[in-house]
Amino acid sequence: MERLWTPEEMMTVAAARHLPDRCICFVGIGRPGVAANLARATHAPGIVLVYESGAIGAKPWRLPLSIGDGELAETADLVVSVPEMFNYWLQGGWIDIGFLGAAQIDRRGRINTTVIGDYTRPSVRLPGSGGAPEIARSSRRVLVVASHSPRVFVDRLDFITSGAEGVSAVITDLGVLDRDRASGELVLTALHPGVSVDEVRAATGWPLRVADEVRVSAPPAPGELEALRTLVARREVAA
């Protein structure tokens, strides 16, 4: 059967579904912004999107290219300074879900967005931590959205940008990993339609544990796909 959606779209839709309506969601830079705005456009019209630039309750019509686009401030319930954002709203404990991307992630759900290779002589210098360590530390739940490949899902991080408690769940283009409370390890709990456990194992840089019961994600509903494509098209047009 021919699919009418891409794995990237499936990933974004699955990530969006993880965001309950009315939750307070701190939206990290990159992919999380697409999924969070898709949630707001579909099942979660009451979601509160919080951007590290200071916008709280932002309701952008188009996907912002940067997390500091003017539309975020103009549509927000309030705009605060960066120190206030990190001290009062994030560290103060108001965030339900911290939503992040990652360049590397390990089996304990720790994240690297700093360097590939040695820190002092990196083969690839990545952007660095941004707000991720604080988002990961202070949100009640932490979700990560990332493409599934052995380059990303590594046995050993080159650098721990954000460690400590780690993430609750990782949504990829192949399925969903949830962090097992007892072992603290990421475990495969859902496959996207048409993906096999072996495929996921092959794309994971450590011996991946698989849950006793693995769900299969519902494919993107027509409404979800349409909303996602509208969002993406608006970004392209506006740019």
Binding site: I29, S53, G54, S81, T114, R125, S129, G130, G131, I160
Partner: protein, 284 residues
Amino acid sequence: MAEITSLREAVEELVHDGDSVALEGFTHLIPFAAGHEIARQGRRHLTLVRLTPDVILDQLIGVGCADALVFSWGGNPGVGSLHRFRDAVENAWPLALRIEEFSHGVMANRFVAGASGLPFTVMRGDAGNDLVRRTSSLAPVICPFTGERLTAVAALRPDVAVVHAQQADRRGNVMLWGITGVQKEAVLAARRSIVTVEEIVDTLAPRPNAVVLPTWAVSAVAVVPGGTHPSYALGYSVRDNHFYRSWDAVSRDRVRFRAWMERHVLGVAGWDEYRRSLELGVVA
């Protein structure tokens, strides 16, 4: 009292070789014109300070103004890498670049401590994080009331803070609004400050979400309309996302980058000529 002057004179007087210079503006109100002027005047051995280096520091690093960078997120927002920053860190081109990096919250609080006249302030820390091993500006501190282990972050007090604002009045009081980032903290933490503005007005009409910097807290004000390009000034301009996207290709190649900087920044007389040079359509 802030002196209302030209950008050239402000940079000549207030930014010296070897200074630590914070150029702030969180995506919004990034002081590009001032950054270009610093590059054009050939400042060297600067320690550049900025949460999100963005294209502005990519340019300054790429032409060799900086020995060191203090930052928290060095990417081209929504586009990808900052190639000049990467080339400096990965290959020491054109110069080796010492880096000291933190998370956004730590950087913000380092400015807060500086603005508050304190040597440090306190945050919840992250024990399992490699960042803490790469700096001497973070240290554990024990709460004297609860015994909890927290993180002390050292104050940042740059020699100069450079920001862009929408308006100043004739006395040099400054007002900016929209996303205001850490500009207030950066200016108050710094020993000296330069503010470029879109325009001078008779009266600063109070506005929602405005930050006002009184004239006596600012060293110099210079009028540079559109001086944030390709960033933006809410109410005056929109972010030039096309520029940010095309910067990826311009900056990826050392030769092309140098040529671009010569033509649009180093070889022009000032900001007006930069803007005109871009209208001739050479970015991408």
